[in-house]
Amino acid sequence: MATAPGVATPEEYVGDTLAREQTSLWADAWRRLRRNRLALVSTFILLLLVVVAIVSAFWTPFPIWRQSVGPTYDPPSLHHLLGTDQRGRDIFSRLMVGAQVSLQVGVGTQIIVAALGITVGLLAGYFRGWLDGIISTIINIFYGIPDLLVALILVLLLGRGLDKIIFAIAVTRWMDMARLVRGQTFALREREFVEAARASGTRPNKILSRHILPNALGPIIVQATFGVPQAILFEAFLSFLGLGVQPPTPSWGAMAADGFHALRIAPHIVLVPAIALSLTLMAFNFLGDGLRDALDPRQKR
């Protein structure tokens, strides 16, 4: 039998040369994201949007609710950068506050969706069996009901406050996240490091929070990023139908609806919020694509 070297003394650690540079996985992802120009431009647009939304909470060129700050249906000019609407309100000011509404709806919805979807998905995916059966059935039922119907009923029941609208949209949007997390958990629970954790006596709550969730975070972030524009669009749609946030709070959807009847004489009233909405949706989608490539480099090849 070969004589084995004794347990290593400090002079002869096999581990003194590391195989790779010290980089965290997140730093690696950020490096990849930075090389994606579309995602970078999108990030910039979205940061600008956030700044605008924050500023609008303290200052806008004109008060958004006051009518007749200028003539009605006024096209863009130096005084009113994006013109005025049918009541003579400053569209630029209203657009700024609208950004606030859109971001709150988009991000707020996704926070609820993530909290609900992650919890439900982890439980179904890890414990499987009857729990998974119940949860999967509920998910399928929710998929079966038209989301517009659910949202309309909830808005009618609860009222048109921003928080209620966020809740109503989240109720129609949590299933994708739950399914994603369930699938990820299914796959991750079979990985050897999860087996190793079980073998060393790790309790299920810790296995979920320390081993499974952190490793599913990449796809969750991507899913949430794609979920934001969906929620924003849904809110805009509700507002366009007149069931969104309570006027006079300006929502981009409501602003577009306001100008709809005057499309021929003052197209800017519709175009301005529509373009803002499109840019925001595109930015979120490109960022989502970029994040997916950055967080899961295998998928790109």
Partner: protein
């Protein structure tokens, strides 16, 4: 080289252990079929067989990562298959596992220090500074720099990662370690280092190993006894030296002849037993002796195709499951 096992009270005893996985439409994969064996304190038992023979499943049944379909696994007299929840969790302290793939057995989002500390935290054994000290000590024991405790697994090579996995298994000072092909994913040059480390640790901490591998050459070096598995059944058990000198099952013989000998003259003269065909399906295992469709000495149909040979004593401490074990040619 073989250390005789002094006391005959087994640390672990498996009785009629069966594991079937449902395979849809009422069919099932018969991964482990009525397996019996013992592991004695302080010994290393090698478990050998080709891919898909059920050896990894058996390892996971012993560590209760998978529930048995039927049968009993006694660890120090306690039937693990009857334990659940907290009682089983407590037992896990004595029964650890080393995994095959050093890339997937370490959580990529945790630092090495956290990975090794987790077993300690699970049982509230050490806290704060004492815990950190123990983690660094464990890193030192497996030959890694103790100051790499805040690094992530992907910064390490395969061999280094396997050492981390070993440190994690040692953290709870277990009695039995099931090593599931711990070196088959490593470079050949690294394999010997890991084997040697495991041997050193065994001496130092009085460990008992169940060492799972798919070829006999690896197991020969480290094992006191060897079990050979084929299609869910144990077909031969004997002392390591004995099984190499005098295999009593044609399958063991075939595995042995597949080990290359580093001498071209001897290698040229050897008779290599080529097995025909693939391993049979564990969904529908052959009747009688499961090995008979591939066996060079089988007599079909009687008895090999219709009578299952029992695992019986062919020589002292040497059991084999073959109707014609005396016809198995002696090893080269």
């Amino acid at each position: 080289m073989v250390k005789r096992v002094p006391d005959r009270v087994p640390l672990l005893r498996a009785e009629e252990v069966v594991k079937h996985f449902p395979a849809g439409l009422g069919a099932s994969v018969k991964a482990v079929e009525r397996v019996n064996f013992e592991i004695y304190p302080g010994e290393t038992v090698g478990l050998v067989g080709e891919s898909g023979c059920g050896k990894s499943t058996l390892g996971r049944l012993i560590t209760q990562l998978l529930p048995v379909t039927s049968g009993n696994i006694f660890f120090e007299g306690v039937d693990l298959t009857k334990l659940g929840g907290e009682k089983l969790r407590q037992k896990r302290r004595e029964l650890q596992m080393i995994f095959q793939d050093p890339y997937s057995s370490l959580n990529p989002r945790m630092t090495v220090g956290d990975i090794i500390a987790e077993p300690l935290e699970n049982f509230g054994l050490l806290r704060g500074r004492a815990k950190d000290k123990r983690v660094q000590e464990l890193l030192k024991i497996v030959g890694l720099n103790p100051y790499f405790n805040n690094r992530y697994p992907h910064e390490f090579s395969g061999g280094q990662r396997q050492r981390i996995g070993i440190a994690r298994a040692l953290a709870l000072r277990p009695k039995l370690i099931v090593a599931d092909e711990p070196i088959s994913a490593l470079d050949v040059s690294i394999q010997a280092q890991i084997i040697n480390l495991m041997e050193d640790l065994q001496k130092e901490f009085q460990l008992t190993y169940l060492f799972i591998a798919h070829d006999l050459s690896v197991v020969r070096h480290i094992s006191d006894r060897v079990m050979v598995m084929y299609l869910g059944k144990i077909v031969e058990v004997a002392d390591s030296a004995e099984i190499y000198r005098n295999p009593r099952h044609p399958y063991t013989k075939a595995l042995l002849s597949a080990i290359p000998i580093p001498d071209p003259d001897i290698q040229a003269k050897r008779r290599i037993v080529h097995l025909s065909g693939e391993i049979s399906s564990p969904v529908n295992p052959p009747s009688g002796c499961r090995f008979h469709p591939r066996c060079p000495i089988a007599q079909v149909p009687t008895p090999c195709a219709d009578l299952e040979p029992p695992l019986e004593e062919k020589a002292r401490d040497h059991r084999a499951a073959c109707h014609f074990s005396e016809k198995v040619p002696v090893a080269v």
